[in-house]
Subunit: 462 residues, 2 copies
């Protein structure tokens, strides 16, 4: 009988001890993040002293220098820059647009050129407007009804979808491919309803592509604010013959040099197993890019600081990667993945934060069933911190090129309700960041990184 | 063998059918709330056309009239006012305060009188300051070190507590009882650090009480902003002899007449079983009371509208109660509970929203184990809507007087991270409300009310 109890002791004590270790380490991470967190002051500098940092801009280069200097101060084992060629697109002088219901009867409306769009002619474009609810409607209308007109893509995000990123994904092709498609039917320009669930006056820019449309057939494309879209749509119902005028002088320039910013703590036991935590360092050129994605940048750096400050010595190599050019090219992410493949590095886990600095609700995991089950076993460690959501799903654009069989990819999932009020617009500014929410996100990320470092993945050493 | 399968069919089909009904009804509620919700436009009126509505104020009476007119428009079976006598406290002319490190060397700091505080003398109070970290320190200091001074209660909310309401509860007695306790040691006034986790310039008011301190011994009490508290504390460290000046002319007036606003849909099958959903209609007199608690007011009314609009016919009587005077007296809640007891009404479920209009995370339940288990069985119905937290806990001040053996009390639990940035201050304004978050709260509440109406509680008809 005593052997039975001995066996029970041998089995249960180490398990309980390890669970207590995990609880304590995670508790220490949260305490440090919420009492001495650095993410908010770093973001203040990135947002308010540097500002918006589109790939190829002076501000993007300043952001490279600033984040490298922060990493240099964190006592990491190695900090370096990885050279990346990035596209350079510039907005030029401010856009101008109005709708005209008759000679002299005009209403100005707020627009911003979509990222990658060509300019209008210097004098602007004035034309009739045809409103559509998405690309699918173009074919039915045909060249007869589209040629010579401005196509107005006005399909709104569906407010009944709870996860706003899903609502975004359902209509984002209007913005990305609207101009390429409309040009095939002879449209002279494209105006796209901003991808925002709220009615307000901010146009939301974002990437667009002309696909294989030849240079001379490319037509200018701009986002209109949701209030502007409502006005334009209502005006067209009253009078289908109103004209729309817009002028922009955005342009694409040759590629320029830029960098991914990388730092790592070398693993003590399995240094060749690499864990990546990262976010995109570039942003769009409106607002200051606080939620998209200064938040993810400072949270990723904070993960390494939190592990260091709580005295944790990683068994595996933990690396922070700030990827350049996620917004309009993904060059940083593809260069990083190429380098990993070339060096034959073994990445076992990658975590991305690119959904805003709001209260963390959980994580999405892009992995197989056995690794998902291990992760689900950690769920209860996060419950005291109000982190409840652990589900399969896309992890993030920058770490996605690392995808292979024996890796777990994960994405931080903050509350999504306010995200598109800010995304890619002048309303994405530091004042909309809540310090505690930002810190809670960093702490949740550091806790997950700690667990993967401690337990590895199913196919790794442990 | 075929009887076996028949039995399985008989058992499983109705269960699945009912579960599908529940999923459909809850889906309909969310769709209606997110596409045609009225809570946001109602709150816009309450916040921006009426504004702050402290008990006994003209605005509180306007809020009674406005919410009754909304209820009258909802097609309820009955709408009525319940008369309540409420206290009337007025702030008077703006407060003024500075700290003085020497003749002519002064720094103004933002203060606001605490609700219920007496005035200073017309010329203000100027005195030395003794800083304490909570009421507990007063006894150790004793009369010798306190007499003739202003006591500065400076214990901050603990940032490492995840649920900010718990951090609030731990230090709120400084505000509520600080003046009563300090006066026993001869203090001439009390300055209390605002109950806010953020460093900013907004003083946060709130209820205080003199307990049984006689009229002539009552000393004035005011909240200082967190930045002001940091400045005062740092200045005292440099020079313990600095003086603090403050002036306020707040006063308590005789009780006045006011009302609870009540409306109900009568139950079709069990009309004598009453379900209450409610919130406090009054607010503090700073800001416009959007998060505390215009949000709860409009969400409670929206619950009945959502049930009506989705074509749901309640089996039980569903009643919305807007309670007057939660902030500084709880007279509406105690009057309502007395009336319920006097009439012998059978209340089976009460749900309160008084934690802000932020993204709903779940509910707290104040009930016995068997009812809690029924509720936990409904948890999966809420998961698609990102509502994960179902736990035992306090439900709310206004429904608490209804507590008895056979009732379930519940409180909506929105995300708490931003709440105390706004609570009881000039920073509690409509611009800080997100329309979708407000609507998601109303939909979660309506879904829970639907389930209690459909299934009752363990001891009720069903």
């Amino acid at each position: 009988m005593k052997y039975f109890w001995l066996a029970v002791l041998l089995i249960t004590i180490p398990i309980n001890a390890q669970q207590l270790n995990d609880e304590k380490q995670i508790g220490d991470i949260y305490k440090e993040a919420l009492s001495n967190g650095k993410s908010y002051v770093w973001l203040n500098y990135l947002s308010n002293q540097i500002g918006a940092r589109l790939s190829g801009s002076l501000q993007a280069e300043k952001a490279v220098g600033y984040t490298k200097s922060i990493m240099d101060s964190l006592g990491l084992d190695k900090v370096w820059l990885q050279a990346v060629k990035v596209p350079k697109w510039v907005r030029g002088i401010p856009e101008f647009a109005y709708l005209e219901s008759g000679a002299g009867f005009t209403n100005n409306v707020p627009i911003r050129a979509l990222g990658g769009s060509v300019a209008t002619p210097m004098g602007g474009i004035k034309a009739n407007v045809i409103e559509v609810q998405g690309i699918e409607e173009l074919e039915a209308l045909g060249k007869a009804k589209i040629e010579g007109k401005i196509v107005f893509f006005n399909k709104p995000m569906d407010p009944t979808i709870i996860n706003t990123f899903e609502a975004y994904a359902k209509v984002a092709n209007q913005r990305y491919s609207g101009a390429a498609e409309a040009s095939k039917y002879g449209a002279v320009g494209v105006i796209v309803r901003s991808l925002n669930l709220r009615l307000d006056d901010f146009p939301h820019t974002g990437a667009m592509s002309y696909g294989n449309v030849p240079l001379e057939k490319r037509i200018p494309a701009a986002a209109i604010s949701t209030n502007g879209a409502e006005l334009l749509s209502a005006s067209l119902k009253l009078n289908p013959n109103i004209k729309f005028f817009f002028r922009q002088n955005s342009k694409n320039l040759p590629n320029v040099d830029s960098y991914n910013v990388i730092g790592e703590i070398r693993g003590s036991t399995y240094p060749d197993e690499v864990i990546v935590v990262g976010a995109n360092l570039d942003s769009w050129d409106l607002g200051d890019g606080s939620h998209d994605n200064g938040a993810g940048v400072v949270q990723s750096m904070e993960v390494l600081r939190l592990l260091n400050e709580t005295g944790y010595k990683p068994k595996r190599t933990i690396r922070v990667v700030l990827f350049m050019n996620e917004e309009n090219g993904l060059r940083g992410a593809t260069s990083y993945a190429s380098e990993v493949a070339k060096k034959g590095e073994n990445h076992i886990f990658a975590l991305e934060s690119d959904s805003g600095g709001f209260s963390p609700r959980g994580f999405s995991f892009d992995t197989d069933q056995s690794n998902l089950e291990q992760v689900l076993g950690w769920k209860k460690l996060f419950e005291p911190y109000m982190v409840h959501l652990f589900e399969k799903g896309f992890s993030g654009a920058d770490i996605n090129p690392l995808k292979k069989d024996n890796i777990v990819l994960a994405g931080l999932r903050p509350d999504s309700q306010r995200y598109f009020d800010h995304h890619h617009s002048e309303n994405d500014t530091f004042e909309h960041i809540n310090k505690r929410e930002l810190e809670l996100g960093a702490a949740a990320m550091a806790s997950l990184v700690y667990l993967f470092d401690t337990y590895g993945i199913i196919t790794s050493n442990n």
